[in-house]
Symmetry: C2
Subunit: 196 residues, 2 copies
């Protein structure tokens, strides 16, 4: 039974989420001149997870992975997007505040469930959180490999930084990480990224 | 074991999906001046489904619902978005062609799984498909209720059309549909939508 209070709470949360469509990332989708927003990015990584989950070395609960990926960036409504290569990338305290605010909009048990999933993702300990984190890292690497290394060039990122920052992809799939490293090194030469 | 052929296939599919970020809908997200794209819309309805699934009158497999919602609009990469109130809204033949093309990019068993889910959504017979369809309808109604009825006014949609076109929302949740009808009638008076 859905009560009017629950309808109002859910509607308020859902309309608040509109703001994520206005949070700009540092990367441009392949073929587009504008920057990507965090809402469409979240859609994309949820589907990327669903294409790779069957190949994961450790079995993962797909619903949990997808829910984490759909939710994990909504804190950027309050904090903005953090570029993976920035020194202040780790902004857990502020992001946790945002998570508390946003999930408190929902009916209590639903908000608590989502908050726990958000925290589990951030802690990166469970197989699902590790897989989801790897997928979130993988997406911009694939995009850079197909958009002329746009965000790497724009921010003067080195091959060493790319390989170090994204090493967790190996946890989602060792063969994929092996392939990806070769692709990165090859593309980096073509576009003239620095090595260190 | 993930083979290089599979990596190439999945990457090609995922990069092709970038195009959905450039498919424009008729509605503007609440608070934004630009039109919504189908990728960010797909993210939003997947989360809307996850907030309402526990209240569904008939139990639904959440992973199936969410996967359907993340996938269902990708055919618009080939066909463009169809406005729900347009006479030519039903474009199944062209959309099915697009689905066949897109899912054929993937490793075979994965592509077949996604195609079956896409077809199940379109057929609107299973509890999951009916719930997912209702959620897809619900989102623009909620957005119109919070953005001054922007897409209804822009296309001169009547209250009668809104209530008729969205009646399937009742299948996802009867209490929600009851509440929504009252909200639509009230807002329609405020902004001066025609009744018939």
């Amino acid at each position: 039974m859905l009560l009017v209070d629950d309808i109002n709470a859910i509607t308020q949360f859902i309309i608040e989420l509109e703001k994520l469509k206005n949070v700009e990332r540092r990367i441009k989708p392949v073929g587009l001149e504008r920057y990507e927003n965090s809402a469409e990015h979240s859609w994309h990584i949820a589907l990327l997870a669903l294409t790779l989950s069957r190949y994961a070395p450790q079995a993962v609960d797909e619903l949990k992975v997808v829910t984490m990926l759909l939710l994990h960036d909504i804190v950027e409504i309050d904090t903005g997007d953090k570029f993976a290569y920035d020194a202040n990338h780790d902004d857990f305290a502020n992001e946790h505040q945002a998570a508390l605010r946003l999930f408190a909009l929902l009916p209590e048990s639903l908000g608590r469930k989502f908050l726990l999933l958000w925290e589990e993702f951030e802690q990166a300990q469970s197989p699902e959180a590790q897989f989801a984190k790897a997928i979130d890292r993988l997406m911009p690497v694939l995009q850079n490999l197909h958009n002329g290394c746009q965000s790497w060039l724009a921010h003067d990122i080195s091959v060493k930084q790319i390989l170090s920052k994204n090493a967790a992809i190996e946890q989602a799939n060792p063969q994929l990480w092996q392939w990806l490293k070769e692709q990165v090194i090859e593309k980096a030469k073509l576009v003239g990224l620095k090595t260190e």
